[in-house]
């Protein structure tokens, strides 16, 4: 195994786990900062991440100043990284992470150990499975996440069903609808459990435009069938249960970070985001590891993840020459109470001349209008009025919190506006 290209070419400065937009951007930025050996470890047979199987635009506005289809965008990111001198290794699966940055990697030829100086962990997100959503009924073929549907259609030119129901109304549900149209799959309906569509206008107009009914306040209760899906049971806003005949179910959205390496390894994981806990430079509980992109939190666009990845690459390049402050974690952030789903980063290092992420990123789980407050052991130390929507980012400047003078544990809570 010592003549495998990963082992042969001398010490690795930075290994990046995951060749999606964030990982490729980080790798490219590292090369642009003159870091000698940067390798991307991609477990699929093709790098590019989720955009590979998004057949539709718009991708690339931020990165390439033009509108691209997902697959073209992914190909460009890979080409750009390679051009910058990044080694992109496909079919390279990191199966274990160890303290200090040691990685156990499976490649088709066998298993090897790598010991890069730094690791950037950028494995992204996936949609929650049927089981994780606790959806009951028959265990049948034809129940897929959007990601799987898109891979089947756009990467393999195949179609798993003809008349599915799409569950969810986050942005990705509309992406599923576009994929269906491309494959001449005609969804029976889109259903959303919450009272309102999650994605923004005008995307939310799209189903009506293509003749697919969109029912809000409608909950999926059961999936029926013997071998394949034959129908689903739903409960509508009127409280009545009814059956919809269909031959497939697309479970869209409900993204969750792909953080199993951290969970089964030694890195601290934040139960709120589902990703590793990091400071404002994306540094994990083991400072040899940095995390970036959607692994940090569910979920942002490819462009946002790319931008995060690029900055992470720059920060890691600094860290390699000793120019990041020690990981002191002066402030530990968490959310509590209703409505707030998470805050990221979870740790802040205070008093550093080097800025990291400009903002704290929050999410809420429903439409809210009211006040975001920060509390420490002495009581409320900061507040701000907010109006936020589910599955959309809510940003608070890091410097606002850093300059409150607080240290130690800091809790964020949401207070509803009095009607």
């Amino acid at each position: 195994m010592n003549n495998h290209p990963l082992k042969a070419a001398g010490p690795i400065d930075v290994a990046i786990i995951g060749g999606g937009p964030a990982g490729l951007a980080a790798a490219t930025a590292l090369k642009q900062a003159n870091v000698a050996r940067v390798v991307v470890l991609e477990r699929e047979t093709q790098a590019g991440g989720i955009p590979r199987h998004c057949g539709h635009p718009p991708f690339g506005m931020r990165e390439f100043k033009r509108i691209l289809r997902g697959s073209d965008y992914a190909a460009r990111l890979v080409a750009q990284a390679r051009q910058a001198g990044v080694e992109v290794h496909i079919s390279a699966t990191v199966v274990e992470i160890r303290p200090g940055g040691e990685l156990l990697v499976a490649v088709p030829e066998g298993v090897l150990e790598l010991a890069p100086y730094r690791v950037i962990y950028a494995t992204g997100v996936r949609e929650k499975s049927r089981a994780a959503r606790l959806i009951s009924g028959a265990r049948v073929s034809g129940v897929l996440n959007t990601g799987a549907l898109q891979s089947i259609v756009h990467l393999k030119n195949r179609r798993p069903f003809r008349r599915p129901v799409i569950i969810g109304s986050e942005l990705v549900a509309f992406s599923a609808l576009v994929t269906c149209r491309h494959a001449r799959i005609r969804p029976v309906a889109m259903i959303e459990e919450r009272p309102r569509v999650i994605a923004r206008w005008p995307v939310s107009l799209f189903p009506r435009l293509v003749g697919v009914p969109l029912w809000t306040g409608t909950k999926l209760l059961r999936i029926e069938g013997e071998h394949n899906v034959t129908g689903i049971k739903v409960r509508g806003p009127d409280g009545h249960t009814r059956r919809i005949a269909c031959d497939g179910v697309v479970l869209s959205g409900q993204f969750t970070p792909v953080s199993s390496l951290a969970r089964s390894g030694h890195l601290a994981v934040d139960l709120a985001t589902g990703g590793p806990a990091v400071d404002q430079w994306g540094r994990c509980s083991d400072p040899a590891y940095f995390a970036t992109g959607n692994l940090l939190r569910p979920v942002e666009t490819a462009g946002w993840s790319w931008s995060e990845g690029r900055k992470t690459g720059q920060w890691v390049a600094r860290d390699l020459v000793g120019r990041l402050p020690e990981a002191t974690s002066d402030l530990q952030l968490e959310v509590s109470g209703n409505s707030l789903k998470y805050v990221m980063p979870q740790n802040l290092v205070l008093g550093s001349p080097y800025t990291g992420m400009p903002d704290l990123q929050f999410r809420v789980d429903k439409d809210v209008r009211g006040t975001l407050v920060a509390l420490n052991s002495k009581g409320e130390i900061w507040r701000k009025s907010i109006h936020a929507h589910p599955e959309r980012r809510l940003l608070v400047s890091v410097s606002e919190i850093a300059t409150t003078g607080a240290t130690g544990a800091l809790k964020f809570e949401f207070r509803e506006q009095n009607p």
Partner: protein, 475 residues
């Protein structure tokens, strides 16, 4: 050796000679039966109506190899489970199977249950499982620190352990096939005539002749008896069991199998590790009429999760990896319903409502003995082929660790392309996704097919009776 359709020249030979034994039903019992009869020298055909084996009661169980410590005293079940246990321990190494001797704890959660422990201990000793002991609350806490402090005490059963519930029957059957037995899948027995010496079984794929029939049809066993013998000595009332499988992170939360204090009806809800590195909770026990509906429901699933969290509070943070249901072929009696109809050359193996995985090898021995009592005799194979099982347990060396496996297709369970191709083209060709899952574990991990469904649709093309996807043509 042939699988689906015998080669022409061999087929004529079969028709002329017929089989010694036709075994109906390729569940874990049918597979063990085929192995035993083949090793004893009989010419065996195993008939399965599904496209893949293990698609009935055997597709869902708790994968525990039981000692029989709590089986009814003097029962056939106790004898078969204990014989099966010992045979498994004798052969698993050679067949490349696993046995993780985790031990079990029968945990008392109420003063009444605590008081009942002594009875269970005494029964275990009567059943010959003499290493069973009562341990105190503090000893229990020391051994299982994640167990809820509400646990009051326990019995420890060191001999209980976990095995791979699919690789075991697969390799039993492979041993039968590689020593001359035949398998017919997608072949449903629809009728049959007995001429006093030989059965001519009518099936969806033609007539199969055999001198003796062993009914291992599980959930359909009483119906098969009724259809071919015109009578049945038992009635199946399917008992549904739902299971919840937690993320691999939960695996570290317990080291033993956590059993409840048993009741008359069921072993109750068990918390158990799997050899694949998960932690699971189940089964429920719900009697129903349908012999095919193994669907799960919100009530059952939420009750299981609540049960698991009550016993192991840290489970509340653990994501669920899989939910599944299975049906046990329960009859009106607790014990197995094994019966010879000598005048009809027929043995029914019915009512294996539980412990089928533990008991299978012992049941097969018992049934072969019954068969011999009818006057049949064969020359046991002097030097049988001993195949090696596919290794899927986390504790063992897997294919992804070996050279030149092609690629890792299923990232969660680290299943290689070579493993998938072997399952699709090997001795026991997978004909459905369910069959492929049981042979390789594809899509059975955290993401449940988010990443590998597309590659699987491509790799399995032309192999499955119901394809995963169709090509997008121009219409």
């Amino acid at each position: 050796m042939t699988i689906q359709q015998p080669k022409p020249k061999r087929k004529s030979a079969i028709d002329a000679a017929s089989f010694d034994v036709a075994i109906v039903g390729a569940g874990v019992v049918g597979c063990a039966m085929a192995r035993r009869f083949t090793l004893e020298g009989a010419r065996v055909v195993l008939i399965e109506k599904g496209p893949d084996i293990l698609d009935g009661a055997s597709k869902a169980n708790s994968a525990i190899l039981h000692t029989g410590f709590d089986a009814p005293e003097g029962s056939l079940e106790l004898k078969c489970v204990q014989d099966g246990y010992h045979e498994y321990l004798a052969i698993y190494g050679d067949l490349g199977l696993v046995h993780e001797k985790s031990g079990a704890l029968v945990v008392a959660w109420s003063p009444e249950q605590l008081a009942a422990l002594e009875g269970t201990r005494a029964k275990a000793h009567e059943n010959g499982v003499t290493d069973v002991e009562i341990i105190t609350k503090s000893a229990l806490g020391a051994r299982e620190p994640h167990l809820s402090p509400n646990a009051l005490g326990a019995i420890q059963v060191p001999g209980e352990g976990i095995i791979d519930p699919w690789s075991a029957p697969y390799v039993y059957l492979r041993q039968a096939l590689e020593n001359g037995a035949e398998l017919r899948t997608s072949c449903e027995v629809t009728g049959g005539d007995f001429d006093g010496e030989t059965w001519a079984l009518k099936s969806s794929t033609g007539t199969i002749k055999a001198r003796y029939v062993i009914n291992c049809a599980g959930l359909f066993g009483d119906l098969l008896d009724q259809a071919l013998l015109g009578e049945t000595h038992f009635h199946i009332t399917p008992r549904k069991g739902q299971f919840v499988v937690f993320d691999k992170m939960a695996h570290a939360l317990v080291s033993s199998i956590i059993l409840p204090v048993p009741t008359v009806r069921t072993k109750g809800v068990v918390v158990f590790r799997t050899v694949f590195g998960n932690l699971a909770v189940g089964p429920t026990a719900e009697d129903q009429q349908s012999r095919t509906d193994a669907s799960t429901d919100d009530l059952g699933v939420s009750a299981l999760i609540a049960d698991g969290v009550a016993k192991i509070p840290a489970l509340s943070h653990m994501p669920v990896t899989a939910i599944y249901g299975g049906l046990r072929p329960a009859s009106e009696k607790k014990d197995y319903r094994i019966k010879t109809k000598a005048q009809k050359n027929w043995i029914t193996v019915g009512g294996i409502r539980s412990t089928g995985l533990s008991g299978a090898l012992g049941i097969a021995r018992h049934v072969f003995a019954l068969y011999e009592q009818t006057g049949a005799s064969h020359l046991a194979l002097p030097d049988p082929v001993v195949p090696r099982a596919t290794i899927l347990a986390e504790s063992a060396q897997r294919d992804w660790q070996a050279d030149n496996h092609g690629e890792i297709v299923c990232h969660c369970e680290l299943v290689t392309r070579r493993e998938i191709e072997t399952a699709l083209n090997g001795t026991l060709r997978a004909r459905s996704l369910a069959g492929l899952k049981r042979q390789t574990r594809v899509t059975m991990g955290r993401c449940q097919g988010f990443y590998c469904s597309a590659r699987l649709a491509e790799l399995s093309e032309g192999h499955f009776t119901i394809p995963l996807a169709e090509e997008i043509g121009h219409e």
